[in-house]
């Protein structure tokens, strides 16, 4: 089939996904959503015309499939672009989030209308739990056509081979020394995009209540900065917890997993708005055999309940988060013994496999 494949920016995973589609016999044309300054501006400001250009291109290029591999951030816009083009020929497969749907019937109704459009043949969403997944109630209430929905396992952002560093005893043994952590020191790690939705400010507030004996490590990704956050947040973190290490750098796919291994407790500080959101943290922590502290909402609470890989706390409550970290530290060995780390990541898959897999199922 002739596929117009699109997502924002260039990533090795995207290239690999295209290779796998080609290997399956498809003709693939890549369309970069953020090729020009104007595209980037429209993309980042969620401008309503950002869908216009690609649909024009898809319609004029004699494509069978428009594969929208990046998450559709505003399905309402795609819906109206399609409504405005009753003769649009290519069939559409798009990626979507379940995140936030539990709190918005409005979005679920929009998704229902979009998925009902004849051009849409598959809506793909990942989930940290696939077996016995409980879909958001609003999703069901809106009457979404579940036959067009394909839930895939949460994708690794790494190639699986990269993670084999965690099977190398030599690397694992020296991981703490590599990052400069003292033996016997409890290391609490927060790693990821510095964003409001990920609750980094909640974590900073929680540091006030944490014992100074623990070393807090903040690994802040240098991409995806959320400019609405307080610019002095890192200073506040240092003020709230002087025993802290800030790692403001990018780590390669071979080194990043070792950071997880070098830590003892990995924290997920996500806000409630992350309910039903996917995260690579539980899987990566489990792969590194490390316990997590995460907010008490779906999927985090479910994955912790099923696989006993840590403890939950009341979402958006810094004191509750700090208490959970201290509780986990105190009973670490007991939790470690119970944890079913292997079962967590057994379900994860390489994200570059997903498009070819979805196409195979059509």
């Amino acid at each position: 089939m002739r596929i117009l494949y699109t997502n924002g920016g260039a990533t090795p995973i995207r290239d690999l996904a295209i290779e796998k589609l080609k290997a399956a016999g498809h003709e693939v044309v890549f369309f970069n959503l953020v090729e020009t300054e104007d595209d980037i501006s429209k993309h980042t400001t969620k401008h309503f015309q950002m869908y216009q250009r690609i649909l024009d291109y898809a319609d004029n290029g004699n494509f069978d499939i428009l594969y929208w591999a990046t998450i559709i951030s505003v399905p309402e816009y795609l819906l109206f672009e399609l409504k405005a083009r009753p003769n649009f020929k290519p069939k559409i497969i798009f990626n979507m989030f379940l995140r936030g749907l539990d709190r918005s019937l409005a979005r679920c109704i929009a998704l229902k209308e979009l998925i009902d459009m004849p051009q849409v043949i598959k809506a793909v969403s990942s989930a940290m739990i696939v077996k016995d997944l409980k879909l958001p109630e609003n999703f069901l209430k809106a009457g979404v056509n579940l036959e067009k929905l394909r839930i895939v396992s949460e994708p690794w952002t790494y190639e699986v081979e990269d993670l084999t560093v965690l099977d190398n005893p030599e690397y694992v043994e020296h991981s703490r020394a590599y990052f400069g952590f003292e033996p016997g020191e409890t290391v609490v790690l927060l790693s990821g995009t510095w964003a409001y939705i990920k609750g980094v400010d909640i974590f900073v507030e929680a540091l006030k209540y944490l014992s100074q004996d623990m070393l807090v490590v903040i690994h802040k990704h240098n991409y995806g900065l959320d400019r609405t956050l307080d610019v002095n947040l890192l200073d506040k973190a240092v003020h709230n917890h002087p025993n802290i290490r800030i790692l403001d750098k990018w780590y390669s796919a071979q080194v990043h997993p070792l950071l997880f291994r070098a830590a003892d407790i990995v924290v997920c500080a996500h806000r409630r708005s992350y309910t039903y959101g996917g995260s690579g943290v539980p899987a990566l922590a489990s792969r590194a055999k490390r316990l997590i502290v995460a907010p008490d909402f779906y999927f985090f609470n479910e994955i912790i309940k099923r696989y006993k890989i840590g403890v939950t706390y009341e979402p958006e409550n810094p004191l509750s988060m700090a208490r959970a970290i201290e509780h986990l530290e105190r009973y670490y060995s007991a939790y470690e013994e119970e944890a079913k780390f292997e079962e967590v990541y057994a379900d994860y898959q390489e994200s570059s496999d997903i498009p070819a897999m979805v196409m195979r199922e059509l």
Binding site: Y77, A84, I109
Partner: protein, 357 residues
């Protein structure tokens, strides 16, 4: 009526809307202000255009049993409001919102979303700012069967008091300008307003004419280097980079002989305060040939039109206006052209007039 008044601009909460709120209250309404900046999460949703941006607002309108939910700012994501209303079939408050037609003009998808929104029974009134009365709607709105009976033209708001205009002499003394024939470009130095087009056009304007370039320092999205390019292209250029309060803008217009609008095509069916200010100062404009600029120039002969986005055509139009200046000024119906204009404090009254709840 109990009116829930909504705005998301924090600075606006302490400026114009105060007058609008007073105006609403003076009509005998009970007015409650919904301020998103009181709640960080709520503020975040609006800043990032999160899909739940209207959810709390509608919840609150329901909670206080508001008769009217009045959205003071342009509705920037009508699709979200549409689906939030679809998810609330029993939502009781009637909605009055303001919007611009320029987005509808550029996208059938957006026009369709607006049509569906207007078809909802909860949407009572849409107030559109425009520079001309009885304005032509973008064609695609007609094709889609938009319910025009819910749309009201409230005109173009301005702050200036027509009686406060000053003489050219006083205005020039105030700005430190001499006697040169003066061509004004004023506003935010941004791509959509075509500041770069004007900079290019400057090459083709005689050096005996002064270019008075006012740069509103807020929200500049063009490279600052362009400010030195204009001086290179036209040495008789004076740049004033300053945020003028609404009462001070009159000096710029009254000091000038021509006012230039270099807006790009994506400004079609948009609003601009420039023709109104120029008319108050009785100064002709040079403007791109698309709606509403074309409507206002063709109807009231207040200036010269040119092919949009062409620096050469813009320069030709400026030179034409200079050559036929006295004929153009004599024929211009400046005062009549102001018939579509209104004061800020009149907006709520006009938006709610005749509304039956």
């Amino acid at each position: 009526m109990k009116i829930l008044f909504f705005t998301f601009f924090p600075e606006v909460l302490t400026q114009e809307p105060t007058r609008q709120l007073d105006a609403l209250k003076s009509l005998g309404h009970e007015v409650i202000v919904y301020n998103i900046h009181k709640d960080k999460s709520e503020e975040q949703r609006f800043k990032t255009r999160h899909f739940q941006m209207y959810a709390s607002l509608l919840d609150y309108a329901n909670e206080i049993s508001a008769d009217v939910l009045y959205l003071h700012d342009y509705l920037n994501v009508p699709e979200y409001l549409l689906f939030d209303l679809k998810s609330r079939p029993n939502f009781r408050s009637k909605i009055v919102f303001t919007m611009m037609l320029r987005e509808v003009n550029r996208s059938s998808a957006r026009a369709l979303a607006i049509k569906e929104l207007l078809d909802l029974p909860q949407v009572a009134r849409v107030a559109v700012y425009s520079m001309v009365k009885d304005f032509p709607y973008p064609e695609r709105m007609r094709i889609l069967g938009t319910n025009f009976s819910k749309i009201v033209n409230i005109g173009e708001p301005y702050n200036e008091n027509p009686n406060s205009m000053v003489s050219k002499k006083i205005a020039r003394i105030n700005l430190g300008l001499g006697r040169d024939f003066t061509i004004l470009w004023s506003g935010r130095w941004i791509y959509s307003k075509g500041a770069d087009i004007f900079v290019e056009a400057a090459k083709h304007i005689g050096e005996e004419f002064k270019l008075l370039v006012h740069v509103n320092p807020e929200g500049m999205d063009l490279d600052r280097k362009i400010l030195s390019v204009i001086k290179k292209n036209h040495s008789n250029t004076q740049i004033i980079e300053h945020h003028f309060s609404s009462g001070e803008m009159k000096y710029l217009y009254c000091a000038s002989d021509i006012v230039v609008c270099s807006h790009r095509r994506n400004y079609e069916y948009s609003q601009s305060g420039i023709p109104g200010m120029a008319a108050l100062a009785k100064v002709p404009i040079v403007a791109p040939n698309f709606c509403y600029f074309s409507e206002i120039v063709n109807r009231y002969k207040v200036g010269t039109l040119y092919t949009p986005e062409s620096p050469l055509e813009l320069a030709k139009a400026i030179n034409h206006t200079i050559d036929y200046y006295y004929d153009i000024v004599e024929n211009a119906q400046f005062e009549k052209s102001l018939e579509s204009y209104c004061h800020f404090e009149d907006i709520p009254k006009l938006a709610l007039e005749g509304l039956k709840i």
